[in-house]
């Protein structure tokens, strides 16, 4: 027996794709992904219309989706993140139906609970055997973890694995098992290795970024959480990575042995694992080549599903035991609400990813951001879009001071006792506005172009169109 089907078109036909159905994609190939465009182009040629696309994230390389929207091949988009190329077009009114934004935890939760059923899931697999066992760890298009694809493969009515690296059955150490897979299609290339992972993720050299990172590490040290068993997540942004570097220095100097590093994993977390700062890495997505190499060869570096990472409806998830997460922001308001969906002009250019999941789970959710970017203060009266509720954010670190959520007076006292520059969040806003001037409110359209659905399924906020002058 073999599940190999000669062409993509044949596989889609066998899967029974019809008008109005839902197709799904995962984003581990990031901006190097060929599969989403390959599949959607084929579907368009087959004449299927009015589809819902459920993708864990959409990058600039997926901009051709806009054409499929215009020609009614795609009617609706569900995603956790959308970069600017498509986001800008959505913000100017490309779609009739609002985009549904979820989180990296909310998406698998809703798939598994049957709230967002998938008809056909397409799994881009850097290595697969003829029965569909597949992994992201091997092959020329290796991307490491396939964490976000598990719920899709498990719950879709039909699952099609697409690979450019067919290996003999049975593939050892598979991620997604053959029990979930209906068809396997072999193509020349599933992605461009240069876009899949960055060669190296780099620590910032910007002195302001380094200063914030150093303060961030001191906040963690003063929080009382930095002790044996410590668990930690940080993003791949330059300042977040620099914070991890300073944190590592503290952990090594004080001989603190943490439990796990979580999330999107970079080479810096791998270094921390190897040097004994953590016992394990729980990896839902690899950000660079060093992380891919590590998950392939180091049994302490483990792949986890999106459900285990952050699902709010799972019996437990890794975010629930997280001590500290370091997160970014495009805007933070005086109630500590965070925007990572839109830029300051209201155009969509991002999304939650795991932002609000980790903020909800972590004992200390920290935002690290410069007090202003170019001429725009980071702290506003009200964020353009609430991506993460302020009630789940504990502290904002800037180069001009630290603001602590008033609900965390215990933390505030600890930071003050450590001699850290604690200020009111309103003061940070005023400090920035004294330098930049007070920005005028941006005009907002009257049409909802996207809804932000919180991890528990409730509507958190709506994003409106940006009126064109």
């Amino acid at each position: 027996m073999s599940k190999i089907v000669k062409t993509l078109r044949e596989a889609i036909e066998l899967a029974g794709l019809k008008d109005g159905m839902t197709v799904s994609f995962h984003h581990h190939l990031r901006n190097g992904d060929y599969v989403l465009n390959l599949v959607m182009d084929e579907i368009a040629r087959m004449g299927v219309k009015e589809l819902t696309v459920n993708a864990s994230s959409l990058f600039d390389t997926h901009a051709p989706l806009a054409d499929h929207i215009r020609s009614h091949v795609v009617r609706k988009i569900q995603t956790d993140y959308m970069s600017a190329a498509l986001g800008r077009q959505i913000s100017t009114g490309l779609m009739q139906e609002p985009v549904e934004f979820r989180t990296h935890g909310g998406r698998p939760s809703d798939i598994i609970l049957g709230r967002t059923p998938i008809d056909v899931a397409f799994i881009a697999a850097p290595a697969a055997d003829e029965m569909g066992n597949c992994t992201g760890k091997l092959g020329k298009s290796a991307c490491g973890s396939l964490g976000y694809a598990f719920a899709d493969a498990q719950c879709a009515k039909k699952t099609i694995v697409i690979t450019d690296n067919l290996v003999p059955y049975p593939l050892e150490n598979r991620s997604i098992p053959e029990t979930d897979v209906d068809y396997v299609v072999v193509v020349d290339a599933i992605g461009d290795p240069n876009g899949i992972v960055s060669g190296t993720t780099k620590i910032t050299r910007d002195p302001v970024g380094l200063m914030m990172a150093q303060t961030a590490a001191k906040v963690i040290q003063a929080s009382g959480l930095l002790k044996d068993g410590f668990s930690f997540q940080t993003g791949a942004g330059g300042a977040s990575l620099a914070a991890a570097m300073y944190l590592k220095q503290i952990m090594l100097a004080e001989q603190i042995h943490g439990s796990y590093g979580l999330g999107g994993i970079t080479g810096y977390l791998v270094d921390m694992l190897r040097e004994g700062c953590f016992r394990e890495l729980l990896d839902v997505q690899c950000f660079d080549l060093k992380a891919v190499e590590s998950i392939r060869s180091d049994p302490r570096h483990m792949e986890i599903s999106g459900e285990r990472y952050a699902s709010p409806s799972a019996k437990s998830a890794a975010v629930d035991n997280l001590d500290v997460v370091i997160l970014g922001a495009t805007e933070v308001d005086t109630d500590f609400n965070v925007n990572v969906h839109t830029d300051s002009n209201g155009y969509i250019m991002g999304g939650s990813g795991g932002h609000s999941d980790t903020a909800a789970g972590a004992k200390l959710a920290m935002i690290i951001a410069p007090i202003m970017r170019a001429r725009l203060p980071i702290v506003t009266d009200r964020v353009t879009c609430i991506s993460t509720p302020g009630s789940t954010i504990d502290v904002l670190v800037t180069q001009k001071g630290i603001a602590v959520n008033p609900a965390r007076s215990d933390l505030r006292e600890r930071l003050k006792a450590a001699g850290l520059p604690v200020k009111e969040i309103g003061e940070l806003k005023e400090i920035a506005e004294r330098i930049t001037g007070v920005p005028k409110k941006i005009p907002q359209g009257d049409r909802v172009v996207a809804n932000v659905i919180y991890r528990d399924g409730t509507l958190l906020d709506s994003i409106y169109n940006v009126p064109q002058r």
Binding site: N345, R373, A374, R375, L376, T436, P439, K440, P443
Partner: protein
């Protein structure tokens, strides 16, 4: 009144800077602004540019600003530099 006698530029297109182009015009001052923060600071930028032209009694300038989010002091300094480079004497 002082006169703009030649074209001049100041500044760069780097983030947080503004690139200023100044050329002589026949009738009055003319200001064109392109900015990443036009909605938030477009009026403030125009006001500052007008203030600098007035300070030097310039009345025949065609001024173009391509702003990458420069602070007010930067905008004033770049316009002033362009004026000094472009006026007679």
């Amino acid at each position: 009144m002082q006169k703009i006698v030649k074209s001049a530029t100041a500044g760069t297109l780097e983030s947080s800077d503004v690139y200023v182009e100044l050329t002589p015009s026949d009738g009055g001052n003319e200001i064109e602004i392109e900015s990443v923060v036009l909605a938030q600071f477009g009026d403030a930028i125009r006001k500052s540019a007008e203030a600098v032209l007035k300070q030097f009694s310039i009345e025949n300038a065609k001024l173009k600003l391509i702003d990458r989010g420069a602070l007010d002091c930067v905008i004033r300094a770049r316009v002033e530099t362009a004026v000094l480079r472009a006026k007679e004497g």
